[in-house]
């Protein structure tokens, strides 16, 4: 198993590549969801205040 993780000596190149990619994939999803949440929250606040007046 450890020989697998060692990637025949290229571990220092392979795993950072994979790690960086996966991290960016996850971050992009979270970022998009955050934007959607913000957009909805803002719209909701505005509509509520507009209805109140």
């Amino acid at each position: 198993m450890s020989s697998y993780w060692a990637m025949s000596g290229y571990a220092a190149y392979v795993w950072p590549s994979v790690g960086l990619t996966v991290a960016l994939l996850v971050a992009n999803v979270l970022w998009a969801r955050q934007l959607a949440r913000e957009a909805r929250a803002e719209a909701r606040r505005r509509i509520a205040s507009q209805d109140a007046s």
Partner: protein, 250 residues
């Protein structure tokens, strides 16, 4: 030619609801394909006879490169449509492409450098393919910078759209640079006359990854575009209806 669907899709409420329905159909296949592709590429595929296990970087490098380029093309096409037909939705799509495309381009560059160090003995070389990919990143950053620097959304849309369209000349340069100039970088090995230059156990995971990344790109892009469309129309009647329909679910 029936243009009705085109105009329908250009209306924000229609786009918002249809895109919302499409996203899961893209996201789940994307996740499955990427898991399968990564497993196939990192575990099942045999080490390359020349590059040994370093070749496994291919499974993230190549799809990231393809999707970075594709993101630019999608962005430029959406921007051009927005310029010509003045469709807000189209501009929102272009704006959504840029950050994702920039991150894929950055992934391609970084993984390429991490691959280059063991293979070529250098992190970076002033090679046409590498430089043109770096220029692609600059175009993405310039697009984002220009969009951020203009306060008025409509003007930001149109100005950045011009830049997106101008920058599209760079895409064929990236792709054909290995053919036009003699390059350090590898030529095409997948889509070439006579079929892929590697065994199926190597190219099948690569193809899975490419499709997975592509689906992923469209899924996240549509998510961003929906948020963008809603942000622009936050006071509008259809937003009110959409929010009432979804209740207080976040």
């Amino acid at each position: 030619m029936n243009w009705v669907w085109f105009h329908r899709f250009g209306s924000p409420p229609y786009f918002y609801s249809v895109a919302g329905r499409i996203v899961p159909w893209l996201a789940w296949p994307a996740a499955l394909l990427m898991v399968a592709g990564l497993y196939g590429g990192l575990v099942l595929a045999p080490p390359d006879y020349q590059q040994s296990d370093a070749a496994r970087i291919m499974y993230v490098h190549v799809p990231a490169a393809y999707v970075g380029l594709m993101a630019y093309v999608v962005m430029a096409v959406a921007a051009a449509i927005g310029l010509v037909w003045r469709l807000k939705v189209s501009h929102a799509v272009a704006a959504a492409c840029a950050p994702i495309g920039a991150s894929f381009t950055a992934v391609c560059l970084v993984t390429g450098m991490l691959w280059g160090q063991p293979m070529w003995g250098t992190w970076w070389a002033w090679d046409p393919r590498l430089v043109s990919m770096l220029v692609l990143l600059f175009f993405f950053l310039g697009y984002l910078g220009l969009r951020g620097a203009i306060d008025d959304t409509a003007r930001a849309d149109r100005a950045s759209a011009v830049l997106a369209v101008v920058g599209v000349v760079n895409v064929p340069i990236v792709h054909f640079s290995v053919i036009w100039w003699n390059s350090l970088h590898q030529g095409p090995s997948l889509l070439r006359k006579g079929g892929p230059a590697m065994p199926a156990s190597m190219w099948v995971p690569l193809v899975l990854m490419i499709f997975g990344f592509t689906f992923y790109f469209y899924a996240v892009m549509l998510m961003r575009a929906r948020a963008e469309v809603m942000r622009r129309e936050r006071g509008g009647q259809w937003v009110r209806e959409v929010l009432n329909a979804t209740g207080d679910k976040p």
